[in-house]
């Protein structure tokens, strides 16, 4: 197990390193001169020179990349051009909201997908199955921001059941949950659709296998066969996708936080783009990349818990 975890951690770290390189190339090399990108084409040359010095742009690209990584590893993500604060502090302020939103969306996705996918798999070809397939297909095609707008219109504007946006602050947990409920639903729906589809397929494949027949023949109840044996064997594919979904959820929060005016990481990304605050944007990207790889690593470890064969394979 330790060997397996170490290999996986190394692989995740390597992918993260490639991600940082991709981010650096896109944000620092692609625009030509980042200082011009920030200040605009006809900026005052002395201002450009000053910014170049502040951002350390006078050094060669590989040195800049190395320094950026080295500083990031020490928690130093530079200073925001717009807020004048350390980027790391800005990120820490906004991270909890986005994490909670993502977690709630993931929870909603699971709560919808698990029963629907299982029911569809058990009664393949039946009415529930047909419904499940249709919901999954349409759900995967609905843009989350449109769903957010529709939910907002239906439950916050027409009927004042839930808040229409904004964030009440962390002091009132109840208000926080109700402020995040609609955004989480909008964000989780598409994920639920994709998970339902995968679960339906992998569970119905598992149900056709020998060990399930054996369990049934031994007199294990159908419920227990389904939830303990079939689901366990079928969990790998949906779990992999769930790991990738964390990234999609974080990216989706950029749009959904904007619809609901929530002061999270997603909103900061957009703000940094519109204000051309390059250090802040870089910090956001780095943090999201790290979160995505952490989630994937956690999923890798979960495989090993679910399927002992993976543990020994290393």
């Amino acid at each position: 197990m330790a060997r397996f975890a170490a290999t996986r951690a190394l692989s995740a770290a390597l992918t993260l390193l490639v991600m940082t390189a991709v981010a650096f190339v896109v944000l620092q090399v692609l625009p030509g001169d980042p200082a011009i990108l920030v200040l605009g084409m006809d900026a005052d040359p002395t201002a450009v020179a000053h910014l170049r010095a502040t951002l350390g742009l006078n050094q060669p690209v590989p040195v800049r990349y190395g320094l950026w990584l080295w500083n990031a590893l020490h928690g130093n993500l530079g200073t925001s051009l717009q807020f004048g604060q350390p980027v790391a502090a800005l990120l820490l302020q906004r991270l909890p909201l986005t994490l909670l939103l993502t977690a709630m969306a993931a929870f909603i996705a699971l709560v919808i997908a698990l029963p629907l996918g299982m029911a569809a798999a058990v009664r393949r070809g039946g009415l529930v199955d047909l419904l499940g397939v249709a919901v999954a297909q349409v759900g995967a095609a609905v843009p989350s921001f449109w769903l957010a707008i529709i939910l907002l219109l239906a439950f916050a504007v027409r009927r004042h059941w839930l808040p229409a946006g904004g964030f009440p602050g962390w002091t009132q947990p109840g208000a926080v949950i109700s402020a995040l409920l609609l955004p989480a639903l909008a964000l989780g729906a598409a994920r639920a659709a994709i998970l339902t589809r995968l679960l339906r397929q992998s569970v119905s494949e598992a149900l056709r296998q020998d060990f399930v027949r054996t369990a049934r023949a031994k007199g294990v109840s159908p419920q227990r066969t389904l939830w303990r044996h079939a689901l366990r064997a079928a969990a790998i594919a949906p779990l992999t996708v769930f790991g990738l979904q964390v990234g999609e959820l974080l990216a989706g929060s950029i749009v959904v936080e904007n619809v609901f005016s929530l002061p999270g990481l997603g909103r900061l990304v957009l703000y940094a783009i519109s204000m051309r605050d390059l250090p802040t944007l870089e910090g956001c990207v780095l943090l999201i990349a790290t979160l995505v790889m952490t989630a994937n690593f956690a999923v890798d470890l979960l495989y090993a818990v679910i399927d002992p064969r993976i543990r020994s394979a290393g």
Binding site: V18, V142, P143, F145, L250, I273, L281, A289
Partner: protein, 270 residues
């Protein structure tokens, strides 16, 4: 078996309707979707304007049709870029040596690990918004999936007897690649292209909604939703139809991809 046909036909029909709509939109004079007509602003759906008018009195149906053009154009260019760069990179990784494979695939994995929307946002943030930059951004996002798919297929086929036989018969490496390996990857690539169209339409809509995609006064579905938000209370229909259009287009391409994939499985399975 039945479901494959249903997906294929339903997806094909939806895609055909959208292509037809976009073609019709192309045939309209360019002013039709842009010219303002203030006295007719915010009309509810009714005769003359089947889907109502927006805050500048522009016909919603016309804007939806012209918007289809922008969505499809961006998705098609993005998918073409994905194929054009992804397939050769995947092929090189698949037939090349271990090192080339390792380096290229690590790079593809690193790019693929980024959520599509975030990577596209980063590219648009530095290049600036607009139709072409959006297409380019989504094209960059599309390269890794095509590369991974091509590589996987090439590796799978490389081990098969008939490819070994071709090589033993003295066919050159590039001959083997062009005549045996790439044709075998064509089916899965077609499926991926269809799915990629759906994904690109979705991300383009999100970028345009955020104001970083297609720029006004050109209509695009995402942008229309963004503008509709201000008139939410009085004119909710403005927020309805662009969303339905996006959902239908994505659903169409996804179903088409699924149908094609099932069809291929059946062929391969005999």
């Amino acid at each position: 078996m039945k479901r494959a046909t249903v997906s294929l036909w339903a997806g094909g029909a939806i895609v055909a309707v959208i292509l037809f709509g976009a073609a019709y939109g192309l045939s309209l004079p360019s002013a039709a979707s842009i010219a303002m007509n203030i006295p007719h602003r915010l009309l509810p759906p009714g005769p003359g304007h089947p889907l109502g008018t927006d805050q500048f009195g522009r016909d919603q149906l016309t804007r939806l049709l012209v918007g289809a053009e922008a969505s499809l154009m961006v998705a098609m260019v993005a998918t073409a870029i994905g194929l054009l760069f992804g397939v050769p990179l995947g092929a090189v990784a698949g037939v090349g040596g271990r090192w080339r494979d390792e380096v290229l695939m690590r790079l593809a994995d690193g790019m693929y690990a980024f959520p599509a929307l975030l990577l596209a946002l980063m590219v648009v943030a530095v290049l600036g918004p607009g139709l072409f930059h959006t297409a380019l951004a989504l094209g960059i996002v599309s390269v890794p999936p095509f590369a991974r798919l091509t590589r996987a297929r090439v590796l799978e086929l490389k081990a098969l007897d008939y490819v070994e036989a071709a090589r033993a018969a003295g066919e050159s490496e590039s001959g083997v690649l062009w005549r045996h390996l790439l044709p075998g990857a064509l089916g899965p690539l077609l499926v991926q292209a269809s799915a990629n169209m759906g994904g690109a339409i979705l991300v383009e809509a999100a970028l345009s909604y955020l104001g970083l995609g297609v720029q006004p006064p050109l209509p695009s579905w995402g942008r229309m939703l963004n503008e509709a938000q201000a008139f939410f209370l009085t004119s909710p229909w403005l927020a309805l139809y662009p969303g339905i259009a996006i959902t239908a287009a994505v659903l169409g391409f996804n179903l088409l991809g699924d149908g094609l994939s099932d069809l291929l499985d059946r062929r391969v399975g005999g």
